[in-house]
Structures are given as structure tokens and as C-alpha cells.
């Protein structure tokens, strides 16, 4: 069998170029681009009724009473009705973590604007909203904890009184910081990133149906982690997992928001079990913005220590993350802040590091992990400090980075926080980005000045992105889920087609295509005959789902090994049909070939299913269906990386920032479909531009969210996102199938840092520096005014 295996791994398919590395068009786009996708809101069921929620109008208050008019009794449900329903609880095993219980409908207190208080059901959503409007809440307003630094103050009002403070978790790490405290260059900055919303095109939504025959609850949900939602939902509702099926149909973007078990889903599940008809809730954009998909709010007090040439010697940081009112399931309230401590050092090698982090509870909706999770924030903080050091040392931004980027000859490399970088040439991505943006030409142009009076500047940022990190990384967090072996089922059908069943979900990533490409690479079956089944707990192996840029490494790896198992079994049947020994055959191009001829996988499948009399006596009785588990070893994650370089023009009179040029030099290991990777990078880049310049969810001092529509919450549009230039490098991961690395989040990580650094470079003649995201015209003009005052 060793011979067959070797041929499978090394042999390229000869059928057509559909395998790993081919930029073929996406299979799923045939339905999605023709408007034939089937999303939760497209589903129709007899007797379906709609749900609207009564939500808290206050950020913090005691519930004195909930009055339901008599004519709506029976259509309105409050916490008192939800007997036996347990609160959502997402603990962390990290020492000192304080547990929050999130009731599905508020009990005793409301802790953020938009928290669910009552559930109203009616034939249509409009009527359900009518009923919701008649429910009268009697609330005693409490002081709102709306600012995370003030929330840490001992005199602050408390969200969860029994904690004694508002801190979910505090972490601390110190690696020899005292060695560098007297470094000649020391720059200290206070840096903030705004609270944002994820804003996928489709919001959340769910339909819940109770089936009396099966004694089973089916939840159709716009989610990206159906198996985890099932586990969490069964726990809250007190059902056996076998009594819950979660189906994620077509899903219009997730970005992390759709990994979360929602209180709305628990409510709908309970209602479906009690009301005798299917129920539906489709999140509207106001709910989404004000009460759902919040993310990203960080604060840093950070000091960089460097020698006179600008070589970074140490980073000392105190980071605070506004985690909101409750710990979200399954990632918990501490993932974001605690990750800050472990990933702040970025792709760099330097000797001293200290970091203290706080995950703080506030009267805002829970913060959720958004594409890049903490990386976008830490990249912003660290890269701004590196440029500040470069200015202090009088060196170029790429020079300050090239001194400390991990060198290729040191790979694999264990960094200061014990991250194990697998492979890559980080300095090369920096060199290429600096050359592509042409820093020398920018400096000349800056000397000449712009005819329109604007100021131009160049900025860079380098990051590395740990992806598909597995058991060895996550068991330490002690959160409700730890990823283990990823399984895939591969099944040849009697007509020679292939079904792939995977527990992850594809909601924009193109995995129906790329997983088919992986299978094609092994078996050579035309991808038109490969069906990827996903998004249904009843039909797929258990999986923690789609998050952490893990799908191509984990599910792709699982598909690869499952297809190899199918190849092995098909080879044995094929050898029998070819009247030769199994050691004489190879599997490629959709057939088993021997010295005297070949037999198609279709014929082999027909033999197994319909003509078993022709099977060899030693046939594998598992047949042509195999569920195989996969986990890379080591499983500490792949590290893709990139350098981003931005050229911007700043209008110092009205504060506008225009991106004139943008370069991304990226290494994602082996690219299964380079066209899809480009799409992932550009989509992430667009979100990064939003973080950098536009997106902000402000709150007032009463804890009221102030951006409740897209008129107030600005997303970049086509005219705000320039065409980025992408260059690929392709350093294989030494321990994954084909050498792939996870790349799903990277595009969103570096743009805020690169753009802010470019703005600061542009404003250098004015002595102004921006330390916030988003960089709004008001922030630019305020920074210029501050610089003018301090110069005067």
C-alpha cells in the first residue's frame, strides 16, 4: 500500500486543472449570483409565525414590572414563562475568571440597551412589533457603566454585584521587562480602537420547529458553527443533543458573529416546543447594530523601548477590552483581551515584554470575536509604536521592522510568548511591500508637495496570523469548546460521484469549491460530480465549525485523508477488476490504473454497491464511505503573514483621508484556489478600511448606542475601497496537507495600522499624530489643532 499512497500524494491529476492550486470559478456562485440561494429568511413552513422582541430601552436598570395588555396575553412571553430554561454561560478556565449568567429573557435587571425582555409572537413580523409596542416596562434606571476605564474604578456601578468589581478577567505576563527600562529610546502612547459592528450582508435569523414524531427540535439558523450551537442550545433547553438538530442553510457572511449561540435562539427553541407551530425571528439591522454584532473595542497604554538605531528591545503594555455585559458562548468574554497578551509581540523577535490585560464588563451588548479577533487591535497598537520609534530614531518604517522581523533561517521559531512560527520569510514580505509602494519615490514627492495642498504619507504594517490552532492551544483557555480532530466523510456514490460531509460551514469562503478541489487532487473526480454537504448537524460529523481561519487546514486536511482512504479501498477493488495485484495499481484521474488498463471509480462504485459478486474476498467492508479524523502535528497552528503598505493623502483643511495606493504582500502557504484567496484578502481589506476610517458604534453617557442604522454606522463602499495590489509568496507549512495555511482573517488585520501610520507620516510636518481608529475628519482636525497648540 505504501506505493499507492506515494502515488496519491505526489501524483497530479491529469483530468483537468481542477486540483489544488487551480483558480477555478466557485461552484456555489451559480446559485448565489443568480439570486437562487436559500437563506433562513427564504424558508417557508406551514403555520409559521413571526417573533419580535421587547428589548430594554435602558443600559442598566432594575425590572419592577412588565405589563402585558389583556388582549395580548398568550402572545407575549417573559422570563417567568421560560420554566426550565438555563441561562447562557460561557466560562473560561483561566484563573480568576468571573462567571456571568446571561438569561435568555432578562431576569431582575437589564444590563444593556437591546437586552431581550419579552418575546412576542404573531402571524407576521409587523403584527409582532405592534404587540411588542404595547408591552409596558417599569424599570428603575441605574447608573450606566459605559466607559471601560471608568468601569475598572472601584467607585463604579456594578453590572454583576456579586463580583465586587466589573472585571471578568485580569491577566499578566512579564518576560524581563526590567532589563530594558533604561533604553535610550522610550515612546509611550495611549491608543484606542472604537467599538464596531461586523455587518455581514445577512444578519442573524432563526426558524425553530418541534417535531412530535422525532421528539426533536430543528433550528434553522444563520450560523457558522452549527454543532456548537446545537450543544449550547441543548444545554440551555435541557434537551438531549439527539433531540436537537441545527441546520445552517446558505449564510450571507459570518465574520464571527454567527459563531455565537444567541439568547434569541434559546427563546425560539423554547417557544417552538410549547406553541405547536414553527416560529421565526429575522434580525433587523437596528437589532444587529445596537444589540447584536458589537466587537473590537480596545484601549492600550503601551511603551516601546528601543536602542538609538531604532531596534525594538521591549514592549510594556496595559490593555483593556470592553467586553460588554455578558460572556458570549462559546468564546467567552476573555478571549479577546487574553489573546492580546499572547499575540501583541506580532511577527517580531525582541527580548523583553510585559503585558497586563483586563476584560471589563460594561452596560453594552457583549463583545464578540470579529475577523482577526484581537489581532487587528494589537497590530494597530504595536505598529503605531514601531513607527513612533522609527520617527524618534530617524529611520524609515521598513528599517525599524527589518531589524526585528523573525529571519527565515530561524524558522521554525518560538517567540517571546511561546508561539511557534512554522515557516516563512517575513523580511521578504517587508522588502517587497516597501519596493512596491516605492518609499523612495514617496519621499521625493513629499518634498515637492501636492498641487492641491494635501499632504501625502506612507505607512506599513506587518503581522502574522495564527490559524487553525487546535487542542494544544485551546485546552488551556478552558472555554466551552476545544477543537480536536476534524472529521470528514467521503462517500463514492454508485454513479461514481463523490459526497463530502463536513461539520464546518461555508458562508462566503467558497469551501464547496475548495474542498472539492482537494478531493479532486486525490481522486481526480471532476468537481462537477463532487457534492459538499455541510451546515447540518444531522448529516455531518461533529465539528467546532468555521472560525479561526481553520477550515482549509482542518476540513481540507480531513477531506484529503478521507479521500486517501477511499483511494486505498478503491485500489483494492480496482486491482481485482483489473486482475492484478493491488501493488501494481495507482489511483488518479478518476480511475484505478494497472499495467494492462484502467477501471473508472464509477465502475468500482457500481461493483461495491450493485455487483458485489465481483468484489475481492479481502475487500474492506467499510466500503466506499469513510469518516476519517485529521489534526496536524503539531497542532499549534499555521502562521500566514503579510506586509501591508499604504499611500494616503490627507486634506489638512477638512480632515479627509484618501487611500492613493495599497499593497499587500502575503504568504498563505499553498493556495488551494488563488482566486478565492484574493477574494478573501480583498474582503478583509475592505473591512480593514472600515475599521481604519469609518466604522464606529458610539455610546452616550447613558449607555445608549448612537448608530442604529447604516446612515449613522458608516461602512466603506466601492468608492472608499481602492483596488489593492496583491503579491503572493508561497512558503509551505511543513505539517499540513499540501502545506496549506489559514488565511481567512488576515486581510482585516493590518489595514488600520498601515493606514494610520501613513496618516501620521503625512501629518508629520504638522507635528500631529493619530492614535485612534477610526480616523475621522474630526479626529484628524483635532490632532492638527492639538499639535498647533503645543507648538505655540
Amino acid at each position: 500500500m505504501a506505493y499507492v499512497y506515494a502515488m496519491i500524494v505526489e501524483g497530479r491529476s491529469s483530468l483537468t486543472d481542477q486540483g489544488v492550486g487551480a483558480s477555478i470559478l466557485r461552484k456555489e456562485d451559480d446559485r448565489l449570483m443568480r439570486g437562487r440561494g436559500q437563506f433562513v429568511a427564504d424558508l417557508r413552513f406551514a403555520g409559521l409565525r413571526d417573533v419580535a422582541f421587547v428589548r430594554s430601552p435602558l443600559a442598566h436598570g432594575l425590572i419592577r414590572g412588565i405589563a402585558v395588555p389583556d388582549d395580548h396575553k398568550g402572545s407575549v412571553f417573559t422570563a417567568a414563562d421560560l420554566d426550565g430554561v438555563k441561562p447562557i454561560r460561557a466560562v473560561s478556565g483561566l484563573r480568576g475568571f468571573k462567571v456571568s449568567d446571561q438569561p435568555s429573557l432578562a431576569v431582575g435587571k437589564v444590563r444593556y440597551v437591546g437586552e431581550l425582555v419579552a418575546m412576542c409572537v404573531a402571524p407576521t413580523r409587523a403584527e409582532a412589533e405592534d404587540i411588542a409596542g404595547t408591552v409596558d416596562l417599569d424599570l428603575d434606571e441605574l447608573p450606566a457603566v459605559y466607559e471601560m476605564l471608568a468601569a475598572r474604578d472601584p467607585t463604579s456601578a456594578l453590572l454583576h454585584e456579586h463580583w465586587g468589581d466589573n472585571v471578568f478577567l485580569e491577566t499578566f505576563v512579564d518576560v524581563g521587562i526590567e532589563k530594558v527600562l533604561d533604553a535610550p529610546i522610550k515612546v509611550t502612547r495611549e491608543i484606542r480602537t472604537a467599538r464596531q459592528c461586523m455587518a455581514p450582508i445577512e444578519g442573524r435569523g432563526a426558524v425553530a420547529i418541534w417535531d412530535n414524531r422525532l421528539e426533536q427540535l430543528t433550528l434553522y439558523s444563520a450560523c457558522q458553527m452549527p454543532h456548537i450551537v446545537r450543544t449550547g442550545l441543548a444545554g440551555c433547553l435541557g434537551l438531549d443533543e439527539g433531540q436537537v438538530r441545527v441546520v445552517a442553510p446558505d449564510v450571507g457572511g459570518g465574520f464571527g458573529y454567527k459563531g455565537i449561540l444567541l439568547a434569541e435562539e434559546v427563546c425560539l427553541g423554547w417557544l417552538a416546543m410549547h406553541c405547536g407551530h414553527p416560529v421565526r425571528w429575522i434580525e433587523d439591522r437596528r437589532e444587529h447594530l445596537t444589540a447584536g454584532a458589537n466587537c473590537r473595542e480596545h484601549h492600550y497604554r503601551i511603551t516601546g523601548y528601543a536602542d538609538r538605531e531604532g531596534r525594538l528591545l521591549g514592549i510594556d503594555c496595559e490593555a483593556t477590552v470592553d467586553s460588554g455585559a455578558y460572556s458570549a458562548y462559546p468564546f467567552s468574554a476573555c478571549l479577546e483581551a487574553a489573546q492580546v497578551a499572547s499575540i501583541l509581540p506580532g511577527p517580531y523577535d525582541f527580548p523583553a515584554y510585559r503585558c497586563r490585560t483586563y476584560s471589563v464588563a460594561t452596560n453594552k451588548c457583549p463583545i464578540l470575536p470579529y475577523r482577526g479577533v484581537a489581532r487587528t487591535g494589537v497590530c494597530f497598537a504595536l505598529e503605531l509604536v514601531l513607527d513612533a520609534i522609527a520617527r524618534e530614531a530617524g529611520v524609515e518604517p521598513h528599517e525599524v521592522r527589518s531589524k526585528i522581523l523573525v529571519k527565515p533561517d530561524k524558522m521554525p521559531f518560538t517567540n517571546i510568548t511561546k508561539k511557534w512560527f512554522d515557516s516563512g520569510d517575513y523580511p521578504e514580505s517587508l522588502r517587497r511591500a516597501a519596493a512596491a509602494i516605492d518609499i523612495g519615490a514617496v519621499r521625493l514627492r513629499q518634498k515637492r508637495g501636492e498641487p492641491d495642498g494635501r499632504l501625502i504619507g506612507v505607512g506599513m504594517a506587518t503581522y502574522c496570523e495564527q490559524a487553525a490552532h487546535g487542542t494544544s492551544v485551546y485546552y488551556g483557555w478552558g472555554i466551552p469548546m476545544v477543537p480536536g480532530f476534524e472529521q470528514a466523510t467521503a462517500r463514492l456514490t454508485p454513479d461514481g460521484g463523490l459526497e463530502l460531509r463536513v461539520g464546518i460551514h461555508s458562508h462566503g469562503q467558497g469551501l464547496e469549491t475548495t474542498l472539492s478541489q482537494v478531493a479532486h487532487e486525490i481522486l481526480g473526480i471532476d468537481i462537477a460530480k463532487i457534492k459538499v454537504v455541510h451546515g447540518d448537524t444531522a448529516m455531518t460529523p461533529y465539528s467546532t465549525g468555521t472560525w479561526g481561519s481553520r477550515c482549509m487546514v482542518m476540513a481540507g486536511g480531513a477531506v484529503s485523508v478521507a479521500c486517501k482512504e477511499i483511494a486505498k479501498r478503491a485500489a483494492r477493488i480496482g486491482a481485482q477488476l483489473l486482475q492484478t495485484d493491488v501493488h501494481n495499481v495507482t489511483v488518479a484521474g478518476g480511475e484505478v490504473a494497472g499495467p494492462q488498463g484502467s477501471v473508472s471509480l464509477g465502475e468500482i462504485a457500481r461493483t461495491w454497491y450493485l455487483k458485489p459478486q465481483n468484489l475481492p474476498s479481502d475487500v474492506d467492508m467499510g466500503g466506499l464511505e469513510a469518516t476519517v479524523g485529521y489534526r496536524p502535528s503539531p497542532d499549534s497552528g499555521t502562521f500566514s503573514y503579510a506586509t501591508h503598505a499604504a499611500l494616503v493623502a490627507v486634506d489638512p483643511e477638512i480632515g479627509d483621508v484618501e487611500i492613493l495606493d495599497y499593497v499587500i504582500v502575503e504568504d498563505g502557504g499553498k493556495l488551494v484556489n488563488p482566486m478565492i484567496v484574493d477574494g478573501q484578502i480583498l474582503g478583509g481589506f475592505a473591512q480593514g478600511v472600515g475599521t481604519a476610517l469609518y466604522e464606529e458604534m458610539p455610546f452616550d453617557s447613558a449607555g445608549q448606542p448612537l448608530a442604529s442604522t447604516f446612515a449613522d454606522y458608516l461602512l466603506p463602499g466601492p468608492t472608499e475601497v481602492p483596488a489593492a495590489r496583491i503579491e503572493h509568496m508561497e512558503t509551505l507549512s511543513p505539517h499540513t496537507e499540501f502545506g496549506v495555511k489559514g488565511i481567512g482573517e488576515g486581510g482585516a488585520i493590518a489595514p488600520p495600522a498601515a493606514i494610520a501610520n501613513a496618516v501620521n507620516d503625512a501629518l508629520r510636518p504638522l507635528g500631529a499624530e493619530l492614535l485612534v481608529s477610526p480616523i475621522t475628519p474630526r479626529q484628524v482636525l483635532a490632532a492638527i489643532a492639538r499639535a498647533g497648540r503645543s507648538a505655540a
Partner: protein, 275 residues
């Protein structure tokens, strides 16, 4: 996010529409393109009993070229103007301004009359038509007709001087003389967004008009009906920033950053006119 239940009427003539609007026993709203009212209905910011759709009234789509002015019916869309289906009497100003309103999808349905009576201070037409010296033509019961300068139509944020039984039938834009110059500069953070600051300017010496507008201030536009005051006596043609800032302060725009952006927009509009 669904509207409350409302009745819907689509009368074919103006008299019927005015009668419905003046019923008094119900809360009625006129709707034309619905590009602002639609979202407000969905958000339940407006909860009418009756929605009167005026887009079937032919009279409101009239365009009439007169010797010294152009009448544009209230239901003419921004796209009609952008695409040149409306004659040009303003040296291209109307067409240029129309093409910068929101997005094409909004311009396809949104109407010039709807934009004016919606009275959002950030919208383009309020400031632009004020600078151009346009008149609003209003019809009430019994074929009563009155006209009011566009700057007096808007009485406050989202408020205008129409009563329930009145309909804006259109606007009249004066024909500019050949030597006239105009400028319009608005500041949006992104394409299609409502403006955060607007500068509008018209210099038509043959008609003795020199008018400037600072718009999108969060209130009614600030009007300099004789904009020569902006240039001061000894400024040598330069715009007197202190004068403009005093005017803004007097109108409640006191934040220095807002003042700076508004002033920059005004200056750029004036520079555009004199370029």
C-alpha cells in the same frame, strides 16, 4: 423593522390629494419617491394612518420653460435632472448637483419636491436652491396658489411651512444670465452619504445677485444674501474667515472644527465659481 398598519391612497389629481391631506380625522403623510420616508416608516419614526402617494398626479411631473425661469414639478426625480431630461437654465448647476445626491438608486426614485419638504438640513437641494434663488410653488384647497422662497420653506429640522392641506407642486428656478458663475462643495465622509457641510455660491452680476449659503449645519442654512460682505472692504478678494465664523456662531454653529469644515466648503465653492 416593519411599518405600522396604514391606509394607502394614490389619487390621480391634485385636488383629491389635497382633500385627503386635509381630512383632519387621520394622521396623513404624502409620499413621492419615499427615499427618506420609506426607511422612517420601517423604523416607526413615522406612524401615519394614511399614506397619500402623489406620484400618479401628472401635474406634479410638469416641466415648463419660461422666459426668466424654469418650473420643475415636485415629482421630477434627481435622475431626471441628472440625465438632462430637464432643460438647463443654471449653467449646469442643477445637473451637477443632482448627480451628486446620494446613490443612483436613490436618485432614480427620490424627487426634488420630496427632498425640499422633508427638510433634512443635510440634503443638497435645500442649500443649492437657496443659493440659486428658487421659489417654491404651493397649492392649497380651492386652487389657492402661493409661492415662497425656498429658504423660507424650511422652518426647522424636518419641518416646513406647508399645512396639512397644501402640496408643493414644484419649484421655479431663475434663469441665470450668461456671465453667472456658481459653486457647490459638500463634505461627506463617503460617497452617497448625507452631507456634514455644504458651501453653495452664486455670482450673477448681470442680475445683481451675489449669494452664498452655508448648509448642512444641523439647522436651516445660513444665508448671505449679499455675499460681497464676505469679502470685506480691504481683503483684496480674500474671504473674511472671521466674518463667516461670526455668522456661524450667531446661528449656533460654535464648534471650532465644524466651523473650520464649513468655512472650507464655502471657500471651495466660491473658488470653484471663480476658477
Amino acid at each position: 423593522m416593519k411599518p405600522v398598519k396604514f391606509e394607502y391612497a394614490r389619487p390621480a389629481d391634485l385636488t383629491a390629494a389635497i382633500e385627503l391631506g386635509g381630512r383632519g380625522d387621520v394622521m396623513a403623510k404624502f409620499i413621492a419617491g419615499g427615499q427618506s420616508l420609506g426607511p422612517m416608516l420601517n423604523l416607526r419614526l413615522v406612524q401615519p394612518d394614511l399614506l397619500i402617494d402623489i406620484t400618479a398626479i401628472a401635474e406634479l411631473k410638469n416641466i415648463e420653460l419660461k422666459t426668466d425661469a424654469l418650473f420643475i414639478g415636485a415629482c421630477i426625480t434627481h435622475a431626471d435632472i441628472e440625465d438632462g431630461r430637464v432643460p438647463d437654465v443654471c449653467a449646469g448647476a442643477m445637473r451637477a448637483i443632482a448627480s451628486g445626491i446620494a446613490y443612483r438608486a436613490v436618485r432614480n426614485r427620490g424627487t426634488i419636491g420630496g427632498s425640499l419638504v422633508h427638510a433634512d438640513p443635510s440634503a443638497d437641494w435645500i442649500s443649492a436652491l437657496t443659493a440659486l434663488g428658487a421659489q417654491a410653488i404651493i397649492r392649497g384647497r380651492g386652487h389657492q396658489k402661493r409661492r415662497v422662497a425656498v429658504e423660507n420653506l424650511m422652518t426647522g429640522v424636518f419641518e416646513c411651512s406647508l399645512s396639512q392641506d397644501e402640496v408643493l407642486t414644484g419649484i421655479e428656478v431663475p434663469r441665470l444670465s450668461p456671465s453667472a458663475r456658481w459653486g457647490f462643495f459638500k463634505h461627506c465622509r463617503k460617497t452617497g452619504e448625507l452631507a456634514h457641510a455644504i458651501g453653495a455660491y452664486l455670482h450673477d452680476p448681470a442680475r445683481s445677485v451675489c449669494r452664498a449659503v452655508i448648509g448642512a449645519t444641523g439647522a436651516r442654512p445660513i444665508i448671505f444674501s449679499d455675499a460681497s460682505c464676505l469679502f470685506g472692504s480691504k481683503s483684496g478678494g480674500r474671504i473674511d474667515r472671521a466674518f463667516a465664523e461670526n455668522a456661524m456662531s450667531a446661528s449656533g454653529v460654535t464648534d471650532p472644527i465644524e466651523q473650520q469644515i464649513h468655512f472650507a466648503c464655502l471657500r471651495r465653492a466660491i473658488e470653484q465659481a471663480h476658477a
